[in-house]
Assembly symmetry: C2
Amino acid sequence: MTNEEIPGGTVLNLWKLVISRFNKTLSELSDEQLQKQVAPGRNRVFYLVGHLLAVHDRMFPLLGLGDRLHPELDEIYVANPDRAFADPLSATELRRAWADVNDTLTAAFEKFTLEDWLQKHTAVSDEEFVKDPTRNRLAIVINRTSHASYHSGQVVLAK
Amino acid sequence: MTNEEIPGGTVLNLWKLVISRFNKTLSELSDEQLQKQVAPGRNRVFYLVGHLLAVHDRMFPLLGLGDRLHPELDEIYVANPDRAFADPLSATELRRAWADVNDTLTAAFEKFTLEDWLQKHTAVSDEEFVKDPTRNRLAIVINRTSHASYHSGQVVLAK
């Protein structure tokens, strides 16, 4: 690993660790347990996985990696609270989509050079980026990793 | 901000964001609410703050920043589960120690150059570090930020 590869590699390692730990927890929960609330009156595990799935899926356009795979999930798992709508996919479909989105993102991240990591994300303008160059792809992936950890701490309560 | 400052600055921004959000949640909880379990039978908020406090305090020697401020907390909040011991400090002392440790760490991180960030942490040997240069200070701070997010997702359930 060259010096140039270290910052991106460091962030990528944590992304992979957090996703793999989340996947381990998810693999230990039955489809019925996905319907459990993480605490009384709080979000179901199913909703939280749908939420993370939608938020991760949004990284495709945000990082300039192409079109989203599941734009239809935002309305249900991002714009609205749990139980506002019936789940539009089965537990099997949810698990599969979650794995697909993360695997595809991880494969793209593995090809990033430091220059790629430090490019601006697509939700920031050129002018804003000149003022604040930390609004880059590295920041998005660190932020999403931290966000996945946040909900991971909740999902584990359903075990 | 120069190119050299961007990776560390990006990580530092998220550290500050996660800590400030955690502090906001903490400020909205009364001392009595710190005794609440985040879910039935799970850790109390007080234990989780003590746990994060001890883990963050461990960063002083781990990152070569000097001696720990609260080594006595490990036994109670890291090595043992909640309710194994009585809390050795009051809610006021806990809140103050938590703010002190994070403020002192943040002030140190703000002085790090990219070279400082990419130095090895003290729990890795020279030989291991040659093989895996991502075992650096940047990795520790990203990891601890993600860890704080994990428990932040739990503490918010006590609100």
